[in-house]
Symmetry: D2
Subunit: 341 residues, 4 copies
């Protein structure tokens, strides 16, 4: 009854099976294996447009390799002030980019609004060389507070980006959850809405360690793989990463896993919303619930064996994350504790 | 009648004279000249304690060389959210430190309060490896809004630093102005109050290009000069920098220059404070005035030939900076325009 | 019949089994799982001294995280001019270290000699700040040309290191092969001979993706895990890496795998040594054979289905690498082709 | 009688005079002054083509800002194995470029030959992502051993650069000396021969601290000034640098200074060439003499008050550098000591 993090769940059997199946005999190293070579085609089909895919094992690596590809050392990336790349990656962006700047912007539910971005750009750069050049915007889908960007919201941000010569990056650590939440196609949430490149995560969604940088603007490809190498992220036996990536999107598995997690969070959210002992801090749109719990309810939940984290920097907000493999009895038990007040 | 910046003023004759006097014959290069070799002793006397001095020509370079000496790539430096090192140096800190983080904190008049720092440290680092290690605090004396830190305020910040194993750095771009404003000794505003190292600027105060990193904790010296070299800041003919530094502190010239500038700003501040057409945005404590001017007064001042900048990121605040060589007639003319309303 | 690289071989069943076994239920993320927590003890036993272990998935990451821990941005690391970290990692060291320098030194069979190091240090640093500070030496065990360092050779290098205040790092990508080759204990080739820290690789030796930085001088631990995070190398589901590491050293499996590979290479080396159509370029001491093949023999081998790489930067030298799972019939087939000349 | 370094000589009176003349009244800061604004036109005339000029105070800064503009972090710059940027700048290039690689090449008299470059490129990059991408070549004019590249030699290198998509950079720390030596126009040694950008130094040639990055390919300008800011090299009172630069090229002063220094070195070289106690290590083509001196002659010269450095990394070679202001009597005295053997 662990709602601490979707990173604590085990690997889905289908994905582990695919990884083990990749173990037959020799395979060329450093991404020349047949699984890695199949990625571009498989993801191009999934996204309904030609894409380039760079397999990785770490979402942080994906974010910072992608962003340093579109932001020079003297550039700036605008993001929400709760963005993972800003507050949870120990300066990986600043390191990989050669000292570029992240410019934090406020926004409800950890969502960046096009108008806020536009406002900030209005007086950004008035100091000339003393300020970096606006290079990119990074948005997180779903956000750090469990909200989702609708296609039109992304398109509005993209319009601002294009007007200022900036690229739009998406941190898609929980992209599948957003897809399921909105019931739209991958293309609708990305390139059709103006996203240039994304970090696409599967690890939180049932994979062992499988992430990818996906380029919709394939002009960006030059240098990308060298940046991966320079960061020490070119694995010699890449087939064991690429086979996971393929297995995740095959048969829509990533959507199944995310759907189960979302549905679980929705159930938690619904029962908490009706409780007089709890107040949701943010709408529940993916597999995360942010909630203020009365001490009594908090104690009952913990006594019943539920675990979850207080959220740093907030006053009394707890985060519950529902994993891909959540059990129905755990959800029922949770509901019972909440309603039993 | 230029109140745009103290960087636009000419070099004081005494300092230029000293520079020209250093031009007699050969001198060893790269800081082995007699002017450079005399720095440690001269500044140690000035600060009443043994210090190590690294001559430089740029305050930004001084800030980032000093801070990267006390903050590892995986470290964090806490500063005010208007700090020059955060908003005006185009990511120089992130570059020199190898991608370390600046953590912005709020505070009136661009001053950091010990309590604010303490609060932020209370929940900093709860995410473990995902957050950098607190390494240093950087305060600006006088601040970006023309305020000064009193010795007890600095000591309170230093106490927090020491409790958390952090170093205290001072950006002293207008340190002489703060000294004059408070009427205290250099030692009182630095090591006696717990400052470990500082960037000490003379360029805004009548020098041509003369800055220094001053180490009060001389254990920090190892590697400092290599960092200067690596940044391309070891000048071959260093005598022309060091001779300026010596000339500035000789005969208390830096205090004379700063005193004149402060007095000028005080006059501007006093007449604006009594005007119904103006509202001071911050107390006037050094050579800078931040003020909201009614359109009519703004127009009259500009028509009379006064020049100054609107301050970026604010609504209607103008900044007036008074240089070391301000002329009495300019001050009188300003007063006349203001009172003539 | 693939002698291209030990990175092309599949994962050993025992290791894959251990990885799959780690998939039961939830486990704390980011290295707080029980496999990761067991590493220090397991490796301390293996090395007969308390060590600290940082699990990773990439040898390049291991090398550069380890070296940047002992070499400041203004430092220098001495290595052989064929060292992997110098010529095969796309500048990862320069990136991670913040621009430190690798100083290449010559030496037979890609081995660094203590005397060569001593000589170079004799005139290193005479230019003062214009040169970096000697910080560390990195040696590769077995070397890039398949040679091994004996304990006394390592100790001699360590003596020079200590005399100059430098740390000794070992790139142990094929450390197990060296252990088997020399028939000594892990301790004998590392801390007992003066090695301070090492990168220990298992991926070339039957693992899926399992590397580790091993610290013998545990004073070096501060900051190490933050450097891993900053590089994007802190995997959320670390248990799948750590379980491999444990499986490799359990029951001496790493030595078994390496022993089989070494024995295979020895057989190749022996038959080539007696052929008039081949000339060994280096002694065969681990699982690699460097050889000049006459065109006729090269053609016969390739016609028979053997594959291997010409070695870049050499004239006509081929490299054959024998994997952990080499089949006896492949070795016999090779011998037949060679002797059938 | 100091032949240690041209960095030890004083500033030429004409240049110091120009600097002092720039001190009249206020001037816009950060390069918006009229001296700085005049640079592009003045240097465009001098080079007979439109150029962009970035004023600086350090040649190391010029080299690394220029090179990081044309070499991405995953790129490589080829240079001579004695190049200043490789061996004398404490890793400034690796730092500024974000960890790019310098690839050293051999060549007589510290000159790079087009054929050597071509050869190296023949097997560079065969390792794919494990090697950086060839981005630029950097040549030093005059070289670190006092030789000069003729226009046809530069053009041959440029041809190789263009064939491989690389830029050609010139470190022109002693460019004026090369101009005088060859008796050609600045254009002939730069863009007409295929140089894309250069670091042009005046400090060793009579200036106080005046260097410039000169772009012949003005497409490279974007980001260049931000890189300068990020390095802490945007001086607030830039007029005092730019006025030096203008004074140097006005009336051909830089050629006069260099001509005097070259002529002095030629005299030293001629008398040493005829001495049985000396052997020139390199042809004397600019203001530097590299020579092996018998102990007796070395002792006589030092007893007579001459000073010069043994050259690091060589056996018994001394370097004598003749400054812009060398006195005829010093040259005569030197000749007397040599011939008096």
């Amino acid at each position: 009854m662990n709602f601490r993090s979707d990173n604590e769940a085990p690997v889905a059997p289908e994905i582990l099976h695919a990884l083990c199946n990749a173990n037959g005999g020799d395979a060329p190293s450093y991404g020349a294996d047949r699984w890695s070579l199949a990625l571009d085609e498989a993801f191009s089909e999934c996204f309904e447009t030609p894409v380039h895919v760079l397999p990785l094992v770490s979402g942080t690596a994906g974010n910072v390799i992608a962003l340093s590809q579109v932001c020079p050392p003297y550039g700036a990336v605008f993001c929400h002030d709760e963005a993972h790349v800003l507050v949870d990656e120990c300066g990986a962006f600043e390191f990989y980019s050669g000292g570029a700047k992240l410019i934090p912007l406020a926004g409800d539910h950890a969502k960046l609004a096009a108008a806020t971005l536009e406002d900030r750009l209005g007086w950004f750069g008035v100091k000339g060389d003393h300020e970096p050049i606006p290079a990119a915007v990074s948005i997180t889908q779903g956000t750090e507070y469990g909200a989702v960007y609708r296609p039109d919201e992304i398109a509005a941000i993209s319009t601002v980006c294009r007007a200022h010569g900036m690229r739009l990056h998406m941190d898609g650590a929980r992209f599948a959850n957003a897809l399921v939440s909105l019931g739209v196609a991958p293309a609708d949430l990305t390139w059709r809405a103006g996203v240039d490149l994304m970090t696409l995560g599967f690890t939180k969604n049932g994979a062992l360690a499988a992430e990818a940088v996906v380029l919709f603007d394939t002009d960006l490809v030059a240098g990308l793989s060298r940046r991966r190498m320079k960061g020490g992220h070119l694995l010699s036996k890449m087939r064991y990463v690429s086979s996971q990536l393929l297995a995740c999107i095959e048969h829509g598995r990533w959507l199944d896993f995310a759907g189960r997690a979302n549905a679980g969070a929705a159930r938690l959210g619904r029962c908490l919303a009706t409780s007089s002992e709890a107040a949701l801090a943010h709408p529940v749109e993916i597999n995360e619930v942010f909630v203020r719990l009365d001490d009594a309810l908090d104690r009952r939940l913990r006594d019943a064996g539920f675990d979850y984290y207080p959220w740093p920097g907030t006053e009394g907000v707890s985060r519950l994350v529902v994993p891909w493999n959540v059990a129905d009895e755990d959800l029922r038990a949770f509901e019972a504790v909440v309603s039993g007040a």
